[in-house]
Symmetry: C2
Subunit: 400 residues, 2 copies
């Protein structure tokens, strides 16, 4: 197995293969029913196998899906999506999140006729050669014209802009710091405003990469929460509740540049995922799903904090409650996190020891109580073992 769903860097008892998903639950191939806090690494926003969304997909499939051209749904979806995302005046639909971030890069370079892009060190923007976190098989040229800053560090952003000189094409920003292996951080509004100011001053485009965070922070671009509008935003994962669709949205300023580039894919104009996205976005607009996932997320955070403290552990729960990450204090090589996560899995709760998790609208308060009960027992098990845990071989690179 390859990619983000490989269990290569998870505890040995984590299942690599699953047989079924329904609502907030997964079944592994051995038939174990798991309460799933990964939500397919984001796509599951309204529950696996949501009847209404999947019905829209199936109904459209019977009419037409991958054809010799798009259906009218592409227009309808672009209209609905741009009406919802304040900065956006147009949309390009694609398949991978990486398609959207790569198009944002190319669009910014076409718009500015400049090359340099500022990225936050450690931020994930996809797995193409220009952005993949593991450079094996890529070349130095694949990552040419990139300057790095530290997320939320205004001085480092200014320094990066200075380094870019008069060649700045774009500033990329995750909606929050959601890097793997380290604490998450919400965006500092002053940092977001400075990114906007630098772009306004230089003519560069501001890109918010909402592929992972989109629709779990806001019903608009996630940086709407800090009052900053980008020129481009990238979307994916949950916009069709797991059906394959991603998107680049942009403001009028960038329209001509976006229209000038050549990007495409054999399935980009599939109608069925667009039908599913229309239902998904309607539910985003018209229901309290966001407040509900915030509610279950808060209950989980509060309950875990209480139980960790009671057991004598420092547990850092970072990021928004809808996308939590758990790291233990005094656990630089994650041996405690690995042990505790395995204990949770034994109790049929699937948590991730070093990647942010995702809440979904199919989770109930009873689900959270189940998770908290498992957590209490897992903290107790950790307490008996914490002093004797050895390092985790597969995480030896963390110490290096």
């Amino acid at each position: 197995m390859y990619g983000h769903q490989s269990t290569g860097l998870l505890p040995d008892d984590y299942p690599q293969f699953f047989s079924r998903g329904q609502g907030a639950r997964l079944w592994d191939v051995d038939g174990n029913e798991l309460l799933d806090f990964m939500c397919a690494y984001g796509p599951n926003l309204f529950g696996y196998g949501d009847a209404q969304i999947d019905r829209a997909y199936i109904d459209q499939l019977a009419i037409g899906d991958t054809l010799t051209g798009p259906t009218g749904l592409i227009v309808e979806l672009a209209e609905q999506f741009t009406a919802m995302v304040r900065h956006a005046d147009w949309a390009i639909f694609c398949k991978n999140g990486t398609d959207a971030t790569s198009m944002a890069l190319v669009t910014a370079r076409a718009h500015t006729k400049k090359k340099t892009v500022i990225l936050a060190k450690g931020a994930y923007h996809g797995a193409a050669p220009w952005c993949t976190p593991r450079p094996t098989g890529t070349t130095a040229e694949d990552k040419a014209h990139q300057v790095f800053c530290a997320y939320n560090d205004i001085a480092s952003l200014d320094a990066a802009a200075a380094a870019a000189g008069d060649d700045l094409a774009a500033i990329f920003a995750a909606p929050m710091k959601h890097d793997a292996f380290v604490d998450q951080a919400l965006p500092d509004p002053a940092y977001a405003r400075r990114a906007r100011e630098i772009c306004d001053r230089t003519g560069a485009l501001l890109v918010v990469d909402d592929v992972r965070g989109g629709l779990r922070l806001a019903r608009d671009c996630s940086w709407s929460l800090v009052g900053v509008e980008p020129d481009l935003s990238t979307w994916g994962k949950c916009i069709a509740n797991g059906h394959p669709l991603s998107a680049l949205l942009g403001s009028d300023k960038a329209r001509a540049a976006a229209a000038s580039i050549y990007v495409t894919g054999s399935y980009w104009f599939q109608a069925a995922p667009m039908a599913a996205a229309l239902v998904t976005l309607k539910r985003v607009r018209e229901t309290d799903y966001l407040e509900r996932i915030q509610g279950v997320g808060q209950r989980l955070r509060d309950g875990l904090a209480e139980r960790a403290t009671a057991a004598g552990f420092g547990l850092r729960q970072t990021g928004p409650v809808t996308m939590p990450l758990f790291l233990f204090d005094e656990d630089p090589d994650l041996r405690k996190g690995f042990f505790w996560s395995s204990e949770m899995l034994k109790r049929r709760v699937y948590v991730h020891p070093w990647h942010n998790m995702f809440m979904c609208a199919a989770m109930t308060l009873a689900d959270i109580d189940q998770a908290l009960e498992a957590a209490e027992a897992s903290f107790a098990a950790l307490k008996t073992q914490a002093g004797s845990l050895g390092p985790v071989d597969k995480l030896a690179f963390l110490a290096a």
Copy 2:
């Protein structure tokens, strides 16, 4: 509209949006029923809305699709696919054809620890910055370490290999010359063998990009027809009959390198397209679909040749009969081709004036007869107008 399905470079009367597809037919948004020789630019191999293939998709969707990990179907599909493609010992599944070709590039560089890749000038291998046919918004570095040859020209291939020196990572080859705007050409076996020899001599990997041609030339990698086995082959479009799936297949030689790179996507492990692919590949193995599409393709070619000649036109029909391209003699700016294609469209037959077309197994001999009847009338209409046709404004770039 953007990408390969934009009608920007098609006759003005070509519809941009469709409402429905069934079998070999499409309906545009105005309700016109069209016999479709584009087959979604390839994905439609067994007919739009194939009941059995779509049923497999829908049934799997009800069980689980985009989950926190793959299902066992990824293993089953890898086994079935590699059993069918002789050179292949492993498979990575992805979404876009471009995902597969980009992974092939990165895998070859990881395997050889070299950088230079030989490509045929004018060949299409996707729309990422390293390969997009329109460089707007890309940088010189995106296309670094590329050397070009002419397809089927052994001397130019030797020269490209000499230019690569001791840095050759890969030779990319389309299964045939299927560039836009020019005559197609089947592979010269001696050219294919020379590519293999150069790779064997230098340690570079030979990549056959079967995204477009796969399963319409052979039930194996397309270069099996000329007796040459690549190290890597890329697949997409029709392998799940229009459901979103592509693949990189490779030989054991390249396994360690493929396992060492980091590539992934949010929907790459979707189970439903894999279920559809299993049915598609089974039908490929067990039915005479290939002989049938060759049969309808040959009937179309013979009938068109006869009618073109009778009307006094030289019509070059190139490439395999399953993927034909039509270009008129003495028509450098395609004004005849545009006029004739529009006449075909008026008669409800959708042909493309400068891109190869695709036959599908849902086409019947009666469909071909309908197309030939339309063609005869379209040749007659062209005959009355050929002398007075003006240049096509949107194709002015061809003259340049």
